[in-house]
């Protein structure tokens, strides 16, 4: 039953859906070109045979060092046919802009704001793209690989505490 999803996608979007493969543990995954993600998602939700009606889990990954540095991953589920699909969208660092899917599912709103807040990926067409978790005075995108682990930007002037010796903390990523 999973093969039908990838087959339908490949038939409907020949150029933009490429490299379908079987992920670990039998999930079917496919890469989607950045510009077509909104149409693909709309098709996946509207088509009765696929009916991916649940808002997807959207997250981003920062592959520092690879050419298209960022990758946005959409994990979709259909509660009607109980099958899942994973769309992966490559986003280059030079132009971190991709169309938003809040038009298709309202639930995708906060996931996209999280990707913007943590990785700096902008979503065109998002109704209210602001920082979700970090405070507005925060500079930079914390979950990027080049952001330091302990890069604190305190809002309140720190009181000097001299009676406690704070060690170097857990070993960093050696």
């Amino acid at each position: 039953m999973a093969k039908s999803v990838l087959a339908a996608l490949a038939a409907r979007f020949p150029g933009d859906v490429y490299e379908p493969y079987e992920g670990v543990g039998g999930d079917d995954c496919v890469f989607v070109r950045k510009s077509q993600i909104a149409e693909v998602c709309h098709f996946l939700k509207a088509d009765p045979a696929l009916a991916f009606n649940l808002a997807p889990y959207i997250t981003a990954v920062d592959y520092l060092g690879l050419e298209p540095r960022f990758e946005v991953v959409y994990n979709l589920l259909s509660t009607v046919h109980r099958h899942r699909v994973r769309l992966r969208v490559k986003v280059p660092e030079s132009d971190p802009e991709l169309p938003s899917v809040t038009g298709v599912w309202r639930g995708a709103d906060w996931f996209e704001r999280y990707c913007f807040d943590m990785y700096g990926l902008r979503f065109k067409g998002h109704p209210d793209l602001r920082r979700l978790l970090m405070y507005d005075e925060f500079v930079g995108y914390p979950l990027r690989k080049d952001y330091p682990l302990r890069g604190r930007q305190p809002l309140v002037p720190e009181r000097e505490v001299n009676d406690i010796y704070r060690g170097p903390g857990p070993a960093g990523r050696d």
Binding site: L77, T79, R82, L132, L133, L149, G172, R173
Partner: protein, 423 residues
């Protein structure tokens, strides 16, 4: 003169309906001219008991009704992903405890299943039973906490005391098996860390009887209580399509009528050997979500009893030292034990490069882990799909036009846990 008066103290610009053409020509009209009040903006800040201390709701009120609400979250963002990217796979377990800290073993199980999916590792049968057993005990704790908090915030103090007493009893049993009351850190990659002490099953049966007694008392106190029904029935309503569109999963989705439960849709561990049924609501309001929790507690009770009955003695962890710490006598006795121990502690489990998305049915819904591994001993990325996240994003939609007082039971019934929503 009257129309002049009407114009001057008519509605200030930008709020309420635009000023109707002044009907105050005749004397009678002046009495019926609409006098709109100015909308008051109230700041239900982070440190507020109804907001569980971690969310800030800027609410625009017209009298008592909520006209618009903006949620500002992130007051408990503790950098779960960034911290876990600098730890080995085994060290990430205590962090997953603190995600949904009311049912911490479920996060452990979700994370362990995700890593085992990447490793293509099969865990022994007894450890699967222990995982399901302790997860269901923690599911009862989660629902008990929700019911007592909901009762407390609607004024029922006794329900809170009964609920916390029942939860403490379950925590005692969990302390005997995992060593900690709340943050269990019980599951390991490839199995569980400790076996059940002997005689534990009997004590769990006694505790379950006492918890059932307390739960039925709470049920008697709340379910047919006039005030509780008036406050929760018909408030915070969300239809089935909207729930799916917002990404609801778990009890909140089933309360709106969608019978989707991952333990039945995609059974994992030993859920396919246990029979239990899944309650489904009808009209998706707070009262239905409360009933879902009460009914699910009864089902979890059944599951725990079946697990204890079906469980036979056996291995509790997979015998492969590439993934599991060897037992102490082997570490002190043999050179392979020392090497395996050293490699696991210093560099962590070598997970083959790749990415996987694994999903389990946690207390609030589908808990998904999207793991990316670059072959090293530390995770490259841990993406967490917390069940409470999309449900919280729907609160402004659910409470639009409701009274401010209805915001409290709605906020409670979705069981927003700061740790998992703000990672």
């Amino acid at each position: 003169m009257a129309s002049e008066l009407d114009k001057r103290d008519g509605t200030p610009a930008g709020a309420g309906a635009p000023l109707a053409p002044s009907p105050a020509q005749g004397y009678a009209g002046a009495l019926d001219a609409p006098l709109h009040g100015k909308q008051m903006v109230v700041n239900l800040g982070p440190s507020h008991p109804a907001m569980h201390g971690v969310t800030r709701a800027v609410v625009t009120l017209d009298g008592e009704t909520i006209v618009d609400m903006k949620l500002d979250i992130g007051f408990l963002h503790r950098g779960f992903e960034k911290s876990c990217e600098n730890l080995t796979w085994g060290q990430a377990f205590p962090y997953t405890d603190r995600l949904n800290y009311v049912s911490s073993i479920m996060n452990n199980v979700g994370f362990a299943l995700a890593v085992e999916k990447l490793l293509k590792l099969e865990t022994p049968l007894r450890s699967q039973y222990l995982r399901v057993l302790t997860s269901e005990l923690h599911r009862i704790c989660d629902h008990l906490t929700l019911v007592s908090a909901m009762g407390l915030e609607l004024g029922a103090m006794t329900v809170f005391l009964y609920g916390i007493e029942a939860r403490d009893l379950i925590w005692d049993r969990l302390t005997e098996i995992c060593g900690a009351r709340l943050t269990s850190n019980y599951v390991r990659v490839g199995g569980v860390s400790r076996d059940a002490p002997e005689g534990w099953g009997g004590k769990v049966f006694e505790t379950l009887d006492r918890v059932t007694e307390l739960r039925e008392t709470i049920d008697a106190l709340l379910t047919r209580n006039r005030i509780f029904m008036d406050r929760t029935r018909g408030t915070g309503v969300i239809s089935r399509e909207d729930a799916l569109d917002f990404g609801f999963t778990g009890p909140c989705l089933r309360a709106s009528g969608e019978p989707h439960d991952l333990r039945k849709a995609a059974p994992y561990l030993v859920y396919d050997r246990l029979e239990f049924d899944v309650p489904v609501g009808r009209n998706g309001d707070n009262f239905d979500r409360y009933l879902m929790r009460m009914e699910e507690m009864r089902q979890s009770d059944r599951i725990v009893r079946q697990c204890l009955a079906q469980m036979e003695p056996g291995e509790i962890v997979v015998e492969d030292f590439r993934y599991v710490l060897p037992p102490k006598p082997l570490v002190y006795g043999t050179i392979e034990g020392v090497m395996a121990h050293f490699k696991l502690i210093m560099e962590g489990i070598k997970v083959p490069p790749g990415e996987a998305y694994s999903y389990t049915e946690a207390a609030n819904g589908e808990l998904g882990f999207y793991l990316v591994s670059d072959g090293g001993g530390r995770p490259y990325k841990i993406g967490l799909r917390s069940p409470g996240w999309p449900v919280l994003s729907a609160i402004p939609f659910m409470t639009k036009g409701a009274l401010l007082a209805d915001l409290v039971p709605t906020y409670d019934s979705i069981n927003m846990i700061g740790g998992e929503v703000e990672q």
